[in-house]
């Protein structure tokens, strides 16, 4: 019995074909995963399903009836709820205001029924086991709570189909567990789930069937019980991935690239000491809120430490600003490439040359030389771009990230700090970024990698530092570390408390 059917859905943006004849169906009441690399067409398909864009050809059917969706409002009214990847939230409204935004309960004439809405909100939050007051301002909530707020919102409208786009990106494992428990309950109630994620373990845990999209086309639907993750990855990438590189011991040279002594900036982190050898990849793992991003930002001169010192290649430096940090050979690939990493108004060449140019204190832009350098960087790091004059938004997420990485490598740093280097990046690009990091380390660069992707930390790093509540909680050698030991260090206090 078909539930939700996509029939020959096609959509082009200008010359780019985002979707070509996508046909598959989702059974009513099942949890169905939609996977694919960035640029495979998942987001476009979701936008079609939620009425944000209309397909050029093809149609959607729900329970054997054609669905014509002209707007997100239409979709909501047909019972299609969406939990967006980028958290759409109204920071200026209360929890209740957020849940009922656009669909406020009103008496005749549009008067708001505040108490009814607050009561419904309280009941919903209770159902989700969320301990947040309905009156709290959304901006005071954690990222995880804001994410769950969207689920609550979908529930408030009694959705028959709930679409989730990468809902766990900002969540810790415990929070993700909570979300899954909620989703399981919804499934038991007969809600059809369409779950989009990069994370295959999640997909296998939650979903009954998995549909793969590749390059805007349909690449197969698989029963969870009859397929191995490798098969899914092959379908996503369209080729076999090269085998994972073996753990290689770091070849350390002379003075450590970075030494941090007693660095303190309360309340973010306190008395942090560690070294990163030249040629070493050190992982820094911690849950959201453990102070790891603040630590990187302090080393990079965005914040001032209260006490403590930083040494680069054996020389003590007091970093005053990111510009100063770049001159001292420190580079930071930030977590949010959209907000912190790229200039979307400038072409790839200017993006690539910006740090090197400012660190060198250039006044004139030497066009010919820069173009040539940019061209070389694009070739060297295999950035898939039309050329140095391409604009960043024409690149896929993985290639944008490679641009951010390349622009810092162009400054020839001694220390490369990476904050979530493969967040929102597809499998192939993730692999390439890991290779770039390994290659740079082999040439004597000290790398400090912050990531909440534990398998990534374990496969990439020679040594893992675990941070919790602003302290370095412990250190594990790369081959001795496994998920359990790292998580134990990262959470033990939290577990004791609860």
């Amino acid at each position: 019995m078909p539930g939700l059917e996509f029939q020959d859905v096609t959509k082009s943006f200008g010359a780019v074909r985002a979707l070509t004849g996508v046909t598959f169906s989702v059974r009513e009441g099942e949890a169905h995963a939609l996977v694919g690399e960035n640029g495979a067409g998942k987001s476009t398909l979701l936008k079609v399903l939620t009425g944000i864009i209309r397909p050029d050809a093809g149609q959607l059917r729900w329970l054997d009836r054609t669905l014509t969706l002209a707007s997100p409002r239409d979709a909501l009214e047909r019972g299609i709820g969406m939990v967006y990847q980028e958290m759409l939230c109204f920071p200026n409204l209360s929890v209740t205001g957020n849940i009922f935004a656009g669909r406020e309960l009103t008496a005749a004439g549009g008067r708001l029924l505040e108490s009814e809405m607050a009561a419904r909100t309280a009941a919903l939050l209770d159902e989700l086991h969320l301990r947040i007051p309905p009156r709290a301002a959304a901006e005071s909530l954690s990222a995880a709570h804001r994410q769950l707020l969207q689920v609550a919102r979908a529930l408030a409208f009694e959705c028959r189909i709930l679409v989730l786009d990468e809902p766990t990106t900002a969540l810790t494992d415990a929070e993700a567990d909570h979300l899954f428990a909620v989703l399981e309950r919804l499934k038991a109630r007969g809600v059809t789930l369409l779950y989009v994620s990069h994370r295959l373990p999640e997909v296998f845990r939650l979903c009954d069937r998995i549909t793969v999209l590749r390059d805007g086309g349909y690449a197969g639907t698989f029963e969870r019980n009859e397929v191995a993750p490798d098969r899914i990855v092959r379908a996503m990438v369209g080729r076999d991935l090269p085998p994972r590189a073996e753990h290689q011991a770091a070849t350390l040279r002379d003075a450590p690239a970075l030494r941090v002594r007693n660095l303190t900036r309360r309340p973010c982190f306190d008395d942090v000491c560690f070294t990163v050898g030249a040629g070493e990849i050190v992982g820094l793992f911690g849950l959201v809120g453990s102070g790891r991003s603040e630590l990187l930002e302090t080393i990079f001169g965005l914040r001032r430490p209260q006490t403590g010192s930083i040494e680069i290649a054996g020389r003590r430096v007091a970093i005053r600003s990111p510009r100063h940090a770049a001159r001292e050979g420190i580079a930071l690939v930030p977590e949010e490439r959209h907000r912190q990493g790229l200039f979307f108004n400038l072409d790839v060449r200017h993006n690539l040359m910006m740090p090197a140019r400012t660190a060198a204190g250039d006044i004139l832009i030497r066009d010919a030389r820069e173009r040539e350098q940019a061209q070389r960087l694009i070739a060297e790091w295999r950035v898939k771009a039309a050329g140095p004059r391409a604009m960043p938004d024409s690149l896929s997420g993985g290639n944008q990230q490679k641009v951010v990485l390349a622009k810092w490598l162009a400054t020839s740093p001694r220390v490369l700090m990476l904050d979530e280097p493969t967040k929102g990046v597809d499998v192939g690009a993730k692999f390439e970024i890991h290779e770039i990091i390994r290659r740079q380390a082999a040439h004597g660069l000290g790398c400090l990698v912050v990531s909440s992707d534990l398998p990534e930390v374990l496969s990439l790093c020679h040594r893992v530092l675990v941070m919790r509540e602003g302290h370095i909680q412990g250190e594990l050698a790369g081959d001795a570390a496994d998920e359990e030991s790292v998580m134990h260090l990262a959470t033990s206090d939290l577990r004791d408390a609860s």
Binding site: T50, I52, S71, P72, R73, L76, E77, M82, Y84, L88, C89, F90, P91, N92, L93, S94, G97, A101, G102, R103, E104, T106, G109, G110, R111, L112, E114, R135, R153
Partner: protein, 319 residues
Amino acid sequence: MKRFWHVRELSTIAILIFEILFFGWYLWPDGSRSHPFLNAENALLILKYSSIYGIAAVGAAVVIISGGIDLAPGSIIALASVVCGALFVDAGWGLGASLMAALSVGVGAGALSAILIVAVKLPPFIATLGVMGITRGLAFIVTEGRYFDLSSKLSGGWRPLGLPADWVAPLVMIALAIVFQILMTRFQWGRQIFSIGGNETAALFSGVAVGRIKTSVYLLSGLLAAVAGVVLALVQGQGKADLATGYELDIIASAVVGGASLSGGRGSVLGAVLGTLIFGVLRNALPQIPGATFYDRLIVGLAVIVIVVMDQLLLKRGE
């Protein structure tokens, strides 16, 4: 947004009270002469002149909360006064019909802004900058350098609805402030304006009819500016093309002093109206201080900065 008396408005009231006490003390007369500032007549005068700003500030606050900006109110005030004067004085229309025509012109100007912003997708600053020029230009074209004297045609004992003429403007302002405060805090329309100002993309994705709501916001701003223009024409007794020059910035400043954030999503109608009273008191009291006559613009400018900075400091403290 829950309570009618938002904390933010209380601090605006506190500034207003402090200001009144200060001038009351500073201008305290020697001997037995009557107080030049603290008297009923002067209070009515302040209310009367502030209400022109205040009525338009209701619309400005709504626009700013929606995340937009409207630069046209000053010009619409002038155009409405001119249209009202031309029809009432020159064309011999009845007063009611002239007023309605003037208000329609305001709505028309608001509609033009709305089309440019919602359909053509111009940034509100540019769209309303254009509308500001167009409406001011139309006012000059209609008058051809003349001005219309309404006061001679309005008989001395003109009492709309049996009220003294001087009370009309303040009462209109107070009524509009209360109505729109309630609409903004208790009604879906207002809540959706807050949501658009807070995060327009999210509002669209949440099923808010963003285009329709934004259209209503600019129509309202145009209409209320025209109401202010009509009130100005009746209060001052004239329709002139160069009236209310620069008022749009004073009106925006009042809304900001009253707690509105120019990045949208925050603010209150009541606060904006109280903001116009803060400036109204300054404009009334400063010329009474010997030697301060030429300082009033400077002091008004400083006041905007000081009040907004204080507000931010208090907000930070509050967190």
